[in-house]
Amino acid sequence: MLTKDQIAKRIAQELQDGWYVNLGIGIPTLVANYIPDGMHVELQSENGLLGMGPFPKEEEIDADLINAGKQTVTMRPGASLFSSSDSFAMIRGGHVQLTVLGAMEVSENGDIANWKIPGKMVKGMGGAMDLVAGTDNIIVAMMHTNRAGESKLLDRCTLPLTGINCIRRVITDLGMFSIEGGAFILEEIAPGVSVDDVKKATAGKLIVSPVLKTMLID
C-alpha cells in the first residue's frame, strides 16, 4: 500500500514540462514536493497566483500573499497575480493542463463527490465545482477506502455531487485506475497489494487491465 507521499510521488510522474497545474488541498498539495528536477511546472492557486513557490521563511511572511488553503506562500521568479475572475477564466477556460484534487467518492461513470456530507456542517464547495468542470485532465488523489473501511470507488456516488462524468483517473493507496466505459480499470497496482485486495476494496465495477503493471515508486 502506498503512503500519502508515495501517492503524490506517483502523480508527479504524470507532470510534463511547461504545464500549468492546480493542486488541491490534502494529498494533492504534496505533489509540489516531488516535481522532477529540471522540469518547469507552474503552480496555479485559484485565489489569484501563478508561479506559487514554497512556504516563506519567517522573515519573508507576507499577509497579502496566501494560497487557496489560506496558507502563507512565496512567489517564484516569473510569477503573476490576478483577480478571481481571471483565475477562474484560466480554470474554466481550459488553460490549466492538470488539476489534482481529493475526493470523498468517485463513481464508475466518472462522477465525483467531495464537498458536502448531509447532516454535517456544510462548508461550501469553494472552487471544486469550477475545477472539475474546467479541464479534461483531472487526477483524483485519495485513500481507497474511508475511515469506516468502505470503498470510495463506487457504482454511483451517494453524496451530493461536485461534477458529473468528469473524472478519468484516480490514484489511491492501492493503485492507479482509469475510468472508461462505466468501469474502473486497474492500470497499475501498488507494491505489496494483490488484485484480490483491490477487488475487495472496490465497490464499483472493476476491470483489471490486460497489461497490468506494478507501480514504480522510488
Binding site: K57, I66, T72, V122, G127
Partner: protein, 230 residues
C-alpha cells in the same frame, strides 16, 4: 472628481438595514477591515453579504455575524467560523453557496451589464436545481444570473483621489469585480495619493468604478494559516 471621504464612518453613510453588500477578500486576505469595523459600530441589520468567505469568529465578517447584522450570506466557502455555524443551524442565518468561479463571474458580469451567463460549473449537481440548462456545441451548461450590490466595499493597496486602485499580492482576489458591481463602491486603501502619482499602466481598477475612497488605518492583516519553511 474628488471622491475622498474622511474615514470609514463617513464612507458607509447611506448603508441601511436590509441592503445588499459586496465585500472583497479571500479568507482574511484583502478584506475591507476599516469598513467592517465601521459597520459593526453603526449596527445595520438584515444585511445580505456577498463575499467569498464569512471571516473567522473574531475577525472579518465574523465580527458582523457576532452582532447579528447579517441575514444572508452568498459565499463559496464558509468554514472556520463557529458562530456562523451556530446561526446557520438555528435558522437565524441563510446561506447561498455558490461555486467560487461562478461567484467571481456573477460579480464581473453584474458590473459589466450582463444579466446572466451559461457555465458548465455545477451542471448535474444540486447547484443547478431549478436553473435553466442548455446544450451548446454538445456540452451542457447552467444559466447563472449575475449579481450587483447596493454598496461594494473593497480594499486596495494604493489609490488616488479619483478612485484609481492598485492591489497587492493575492489581496486582489474578488475586489476588482466587486468594485465594478457596486451601485456605490467604497474603496479603502493603505496609501492614498494625488492623481498622477499612480502609473496609469499599473492601475487595476479604473476610478470610474469607485465612488468613495479613503485611507484606512491600523490594518491588522490577520493571517489564517501561518506556514513557514525551515
Amino acid at each position: 472628481m474628488n471622491k475622498v471621504v474622511k474615514d470609514a464612518h463617513e464612507a458607509i453613510q447611506g448603508i441601511t438595514n436590509g441592503m445588499t453588500l459586496m465585500l472583497g477578500g479571500f479568507g482574511l486576505c484583502g478584506i475591507p477591515e476599516n469598513c467592517i469595523a465601521a459597520l459593526v459600530k453603526a449596527g445595520q441589520k438584515d444585511l445580505t453579504c456577498i463575499s467569498n468567505n464569512a471571516g473567522v469568529d473574531d475577525f472579518g465578517i465574523g465580527l458582523m455575524l457576532q452582532q447579528r447584522q447579517v441575514k444572508k450570506m452568498i459565499s463559496s466557502y464558509v468554514g472556520e467560523n463557529a458562530e456562523f455555524e451556530r446561526q446557520l443551524l438555528s435558522g437565524e442565518l441563510e446561506v447561498e453557496l455558490t461555486p467560487q468561479g461562478t461567484l467571481a463571474e456573477k460579480c464581473r458580469a453584474g458590473g459589466a451589464g450582463i444579466p446572466a451567463f451559461f457555465t458548465a460549473t455545477g451542471y448535474g449537481t444540486e447547484i443547478a436545481e431549478g436553473k435553466e440548462t442548455r446544450e451548446i456545441n454538445g456540452r451542457m451548461y447552467v444559466l447563472e444570473e449575475s449579481l450587483t450590490a447596493d454598496y461594494a466595499l473593497v480594499k486596495a493597496w494604493k489609490g488616488d483621489k479619483y478612485g484609481n486602485l492598485i492591489y497587492k499580492g493575492t489581496a486582489r482576489n474578488f475586489n476588482p469585480m466587486m468594485a465594478m458591481a457596486g451601485k456605490i463602491t467604497i474603496a479603502e486603501v493603505e496609501e492614498l495619493v494625488e492623481p498622477g502619482e499612480l502609473d496609469p499602466n499599473q492601475v487595476h481598477t479604473p476610478g470610474i468604478f469607485v465612488q468613495r475612497i479613503f485611507q484606512g488605518k491600523n490594518y491588522e492583516k490577520r493571517i489564517e494559516q501561518r506556514t513557514v519553511s525551515k
